[in-house]
């Protein structure tokens, strides 16, 4: 599931204590991100989440960033499951509950770990009763990353895998929000650079918990255009994760907050559920979801 993938290197889940890697000199940037992703995949499998996606214009009050208007809130439910070699590919379905005008809009997405194999996304518009695969056509370059449910998050922010398409530098070891972090720079290679809006990203990865606390995204003129801030870092199923991700668009002064209100993992999910049928067949979808909800209560 796309949104769940967002957790991958953005939220940087990591199992267990970080003590093994406390000696920073011996670990490379790539290794840090690989560990983050490996752990992510373990927890990503067979999960069900309830999420809230809130967007607003932001302002500053007493040195705190806050919404300056009533945020537009979307409630979503999502289901995801891993497939493929070493379970490195993810299929997911996300359905909109609110607002009413968008109720029933669904997104099905298949994300592939393999470099060069493009991810696939289908959108279902409930009013028109139609499914469309969103394809950027010839995917060579200059394709716009898709926005996630109209938020400041894009597929680019949440795409996973394909780490070999980047080079990494550990810029420094420092502290942020009172935590010791690696300040890590991630630069796309030539091929990747043509597909991305970001000329580089800087991640602040919590050394102990291996959670990315902050990310900065720069455009090709090296101007910071977006910034991700993580809050509410909690141990969920023995994994540290941020349950509240805030993406700030520094150009438009708008932010989107992705809150993982409920997280359930290790569920039994029917493969059929992760196909277009779930989008178009409301009865089937509801029956399956009932089954999942029953599992939650066990």
């Amino acid at each position: 599931m796309i949104i769940k993938q967002g957790l991958t290197y953005l939220t940087a889940l990591f199992l267990g204590t970080g003590s093994l890697y406390s000696d920073a000199q011996e670990i490379s940037g790539l290794e840090i991100m690989q560990l983050v992703e490996d752990a992510q995949r373990r927890t990503n499998d067979s999960s069900f989440n309830r999420m809230q996606l809130s967007s607003c214009k932001f302002g500053v009050t007493d040195g705190r960033i806050t919404c300056a208007e009533r945020p537009r809130v979307k409630s979503l439910e999502s289901v995801s499951k891993n497939y493929g070699v070493e379970l490195k590919d993810t299929k997911s379905v996300t359905i909109t509950l609110e607002p009413a005008a968008e109720r029933g809009i669904g997104m099905l997405s298949y994300a592939y770990d393999e470099a060069g194999r493009d991810n696939e996304t289908w959108l279902y518009l409930s009013t028109l009763g139609r499914v469309k695969r969103i394809a950027a056509g010839d995917t060579d370059e200059e394709t716009e990353p898709a926005s996630l449910f109209g938020s400041e998050f894009t597929t680019e922010d949440t795409d996973t895998g394909k780490l070999e398409e980047y080079s990494f530098n550990i810029l420094e070891e420092t502290t942020t929000s009172g935590r010791e972090v690696w300040k890590l720079e991630m630069i796309p290679n030539e091929e990747r650079a043509r597909k991305t809006r970001y000329s580089r990203q800087v991640h602040y990865v919590d050394k102990e918990r291996l959670v990315t606390l902050r990310s900065e995204m720069y455009d090709r003129y090296d101007k910071e255009i977006k910034r991700l801030m993580a809050s509410r870092v909690e141990l969920v199923n023995d994994v540290w994760m941020s349950r509240s991700l805030t993406m700030m668009n520094l150009v438009t002064n708008r932010l989107s907050n992705m809150a993982f209100v409920e997280i359930y993992t290790d569920l039994s999910i029917d493969d059929e559920f992760l196909t277009q049928r779930t989008l178009t067949d409301a009865a089937y979808r509801e029956t399956e979801l009932e089954g999942l909800r029953a599992q939650l209560n066990q």
Binding site: S54, K57, G59, R72, A101, L123, L125, S231, L250, T252
Partner: protein, 900 residues
């Protein structure tokens, strides 16, 4: 009044020798102040060359534009039209070239700079987006997939028939024809959008970059609170400096010119237009130098003295420097209009100095010694100079009532410059003339170079003179080209004639006037009537296509765009529903759709195309319904609109953001128009405004605060042009009135003042009248000549009338007073007219018609003013016999006998 004026005249006669007594002190003080002001000029001058600077920040047009830019980004773009040399923009070669050029523009950082000239590359970072046949995409439904493919695939098809199919498909895309290629495939276009107008002001720091700033606790609690009082950082935008446009244009041109073997390019748009201004400025520098050269040469020849060349230039240069220095020390921003201020100071300063020097040299040639000549010269002309200073300063001050900041600054600076020129003429010129003056004018052994040359010339035989003249004329033609050469030869000929025959000419004038004063008045009257009629026909209009000569690249480019594409002028109809999700309302969006069809149908000649959220909704609706054209419409429910836009937003968030705000409360209709003048635009804006009211009146009850406005850089520019024009035109009338009042008071005669008004008004009306008759629109630049023409025309008239009046009270005879005025003032007036008129005429050669018109009509008006002073005023005096309160005047004139 009489007594005050007499006392003043007396005071002025004593001034030169009094000043000379303290010349060291005066010079020291002037030097010190000058140094201080010069320091200011070089360290404090702030040039604001942006068109934005014309409108005050509170101007509604500017507010609307800033609001638009904050929401939707910069709207300054360059539209590069290209014609394929092989006659088809869809040929394999053309498509390959446009793909490569588009790549070059997008990834300009990767270009190998050693293959290009040395240009300011970094300016290209202002490119926000490049669109052309090389990269535009079409949304279409293929099977279950909504594709957004390139219209022309990166890899061109192998066969010619496949290429032809691509061409047919492209020519069927109604949203692209006229925008990216012409319907006949002869022309293509590259749209380069820039971020000009949306660059944050210098020193702008994002509030979220401040140290220690953190997210509110609400973000961790899943309960996102909000605070409407939170400080949202509104970015303030820099006014775009025209210099930045020059650099951008230079770099951009360097990149596309690489493809000149395939394409001919016709760039239009603000950055490109401003880039062309660079060429204009370069040319202005040359013409300006030529103008100063002509000023200097004429002064030198007419007075036959180096000091007569150097000292007026020093006086004028100091007036300009002080005026500029004081302005910048006051912290005022200077605009390009300073060029006009300098022109005015030149005209007025030269007139002041010429009158003083003409009188001084005449007295010296009459054998009067240096100090006495100074005293008498100042006695004779100072009062007139004071009056001309007052009238000219008052005339330009009227413009200070303008609501446009640079015009205000221009008015105040010009008034100050004129006063400074007067002060320097009164207090500095005597000292300068004392430092260096022709030691003995009649002494042949120590005569000046000009005198010696003149003497040698006259000693030549007629045949030799003719030969030399012919050789000079040919050399001038060969070296300067036909037009400029003809002009310079004319200058030489006229100067020769004036220098040698001025006395003869002036001596004949009174008799000519006396023999047929009524005929003269009739001739001037008919001329005036024709011009007054022409003036009623004048159109106040600023048109980009008419700013340059018809063979100028920019004019050609504008024509090519208008004839082959759907226009390059962009305006925006901004819609603010004041309601979250307001744009998702069926009735509102349908109204937007209707407005578009309505204006496209009503103004097919002007409006090329329109684009809005409605187009996106209709397009997506069709794509979602199997590309069935029947679905190219707004769906029936708000929910359907919402979901279609959800779809569009998911796929193209940036495009969506360019057209509708994040809360869907605000959007805009982009309108592409063909080029017109501000006059027609203004009419169009008014008509569109009423279309808007009609179309939206049904949805008003549902959206009480609904705000629909026309904006965009071009609209703002046109509002500005219109305001400039109107403020100018109105203030000109006021200036004429003030000048007349001053003349009436100073001449102590209503009749005399009213009489003076006629020769003042004629030159200005002549310029406006001819423009009206020949259909030359009066634009923002041309309007500014009015105060300058008025100022110069008034100068000569005042000198004439003042002298006449003094002589009248001295001699009590109209005949003698008139004869003296024509002969004595006539010479000075002739000289100033020659110098200023010919100097201005040089500007007629500018490619920039704004300046060329100033030069042409300015110089013509100045020559007509001379004719008025020499013929019309004397004719009027002979007929109306104004006595200016002098009693027992002998009203008889008999010039015929005097001359014969």
């Amino acid at each position: 009044m009489e007594r005050i004026l007499l006392a003043l005249t007396k005071l002025f006669s004593k001034t030169p020798n009094f000043i000379l007594h303290y010349k060291r002190q005066v010079l020291a003080v002037l030097l010190a102040i000058s140094a201080f002001l010069f320091y200011g000029i070089f360290s404090l001058t702030v040039f604001d060359m942006s068109s934005d600077s014309f409108l005050e920040d509170e101007n509604p047009a500017q507010i609307a534009l800033d609001e638009f830019r904050r929401q939707f980004g910069g709207d300054d773009s360059v539209f590069i039209i290209y014609a394929a040399r092989d006659g088809d923009v869809f040929s394999r070669e053309s498509l390959t070239a446009i793909q490569n050029l588009t790549q070059d523009l997008v990834y300009w950082e990767n270009l190998d700079r050693s293959n290009y000239g040395d240009v300011p590359w970094d300016e290209l970072s202002h490119i926000r987006r490049v669109q052309s046949l090389g990269n535009i995409r079409v949304q279409e439904s293929v099977g279950d997939t909504l594709r957004s493919d390139r219209l022309i695939p990166r890899q061109l098809p192998e066969t010619e028939s496949e290429l032809q199919a691509l061409k047919r498909n492209a020519l069927g895309q109604k949203d692209f024809v006229g925008a990216f290629y012409s319907p006949d495939g002869l022309y293509g276009a590259i749209l380069v959008q820039t971020d000009y107008g949306t660059i944050p002001v210098e020193g702008y720091e994002s509030a979220v970059d401040v140290d220690g700033i953190e997210l509110d606790d609400g973000f961790a609690s899943f309960d996102l609170s909000f605070d409407e009082t939170a400080e949202v950082q509104e970015v303030e935008f820099q006014d775009t400096d025209q210099l930045a446009y020059f650099d951008f244009d230079t770099a951009l041109t360097e990149v596309y010119e690489n493809y000149e073997s395939q394409f001919d390019f016709y760039p239009v748009g603000t950055p490109s237009m401003m880039g062309q201004m660079q060429g204009v400025l370069d040319q202005m520098a040359i013409l300006g130098t030529l103008m100063v050269l002509i000023f200097s040469l004429l002064l030198w020849i007419l007075f036959r003295s180096g000091s007569a060349l150097v000292w007026p230039m020093v006086t004028i240069a100091l007036s300009v420097a002080w005026c500029w220095g004081i302005t910048v020390w006051l912290g005022v921003t200077i605009s390009t209009m300073i060029a006009l201020t300098v022109l005015l100071i030149f005209a007025v300063g030269i007139a002041d100095c010429v009158h003083v020097m003409s009188a001084y040299f005449t007295f010296r040639r009459d054998g009067i010694d240096h100090y006495e000549a100074l005293s008498r010269a100042y006695e004779k002309v100072s009062l007139a100079i004071l009056l001309t200073t007052m009238t000219t300063a008052a005339g330009v001050s009227v413009l200070a009532t303008s609501s446009l900041e640079p015009i205000k600054v221009f008015a105040i600076m010009s008034a100050m410059g004129v006063v400074l020129a007067f002060l320097f003429t009164i207090f500095l010129l005597p000292i300068l003339l004392d430092l260096w003056h022709p030691s003995s004018i009649d002494n042949k052994e120590k005569s000046s170079l000009a005198d010696r040359l003149g003497f040698r010339w006259h000693s030549l035989e007629n045949r030799t003179q003719l030969l030399i003249a012919a050789v000079v004329a040919v050399i001038v033609f060969l070296s300067l080209g036909f037009l400029v050469g003809a002009f310079i030869n004319f200058v030489i000929g006229l100067t020769y004639w004036i220098v040698n025959y001025q006395r003869v000419i002036l001596a004949k004038v009174p008799a000519i006037v006396e023999s047929s004063p009524r005929l003269i008045i009739l001739i001037f009257g008919v001329g005036f009537a024709i011009c007054a009629y022409g003036a009623t026909k004048i159109l106040i209009d600023t048109n980009i296509a008419e700013m340059f000569r018809s063979d100028h690249p920019l004019t050609i480019a504008v024509e090519v765009v208008d004839e082959n594409m759907s226009g390059a002028q962009n305006m925006e109809i901004m819609i603010d529903t004041k309601k979250t999700d307001g744009m998702l309302n069926v009735r509102l969006l349908s109204a937007v759709d209707q407005l578009q069809s309505r204006i496209e149908e009503r103004y097919p000649e002007i409006i090329g195309r329109t684009n809005s959220l409605a187009n996106i909704v209709k397009d997506t609706n069709q794509a979602m319904n199997g590309d069935d054209p029947a679905f190219y419409r707004i769906p029936e429910s708000d929910q359907a609109i919402s979901q279609l836009l959800f779809m569009f937003n998911s796929a193209n968030p940036d495009d969506r953001r360019n057209i509708v705000s994040d809360d869907y409360s605000r959007s805009h209709i982009s309108v592409t128009a063909r080029n017109m003048g501000s006059y027609e635009y203004k009419a169009l804006f008014e008509e569109i405004a009423s279309d808007v009211d009609d179309t939206f009146k049904d949805v008003e009850p549902e959206f009480p605060g609904l705000d629909v406005n026309l904006t965009g850089s071009m609209a703002t520019l046109m509002v500005m042009a219109d305001e400039v024009a109107n403020s100018q035109f109105n203030s000109f009338a006021l200036a004429l009135l003030i000048v007349s009042l001053i003349m009436m008071i100073s001449l102590g005669s209503i009749k005399g003042g009213a009489m003076g008004m006629v020769p003042n008004a004629i030159p200005a009306f002549l310029a406006f009248g001819l423009m009206g008759l020949f259909g030359i629109p009066l634009d923002t630049d041309t309007l500014l000549i009015a105060p300058i023409i008025l100022g110069i025309a008034v100068d000569d008239t005042i000198h004439f009338m003042t002298h006449y009046r003094i002589e009248l009270s001295k001699t009590g005879s109209i005949g003698m007073a008139l004869d003296s005025a024509i002969k004595e003032v006539g010479q000075a007036v002739m000289f100033t007219t020659m110098v200023i008129g010919l100097g201005f005429a040089v500007l007629s050669f500018s490619d920039y018609l704004g300046m060329a018109k100033v030069g042409f009509f300015g110089s013509m008006a100045i020559f007509v003013a001379l004719l008025c002073d020499l013929f019309l005023i004397p004719a009027m005096i002979i007929i109306f016999k104004p006595k200016f309160g002098v009693k027992n005047v002998d009203t008889q004139t008999n010039f015929h006998e005097a001359t014969t």
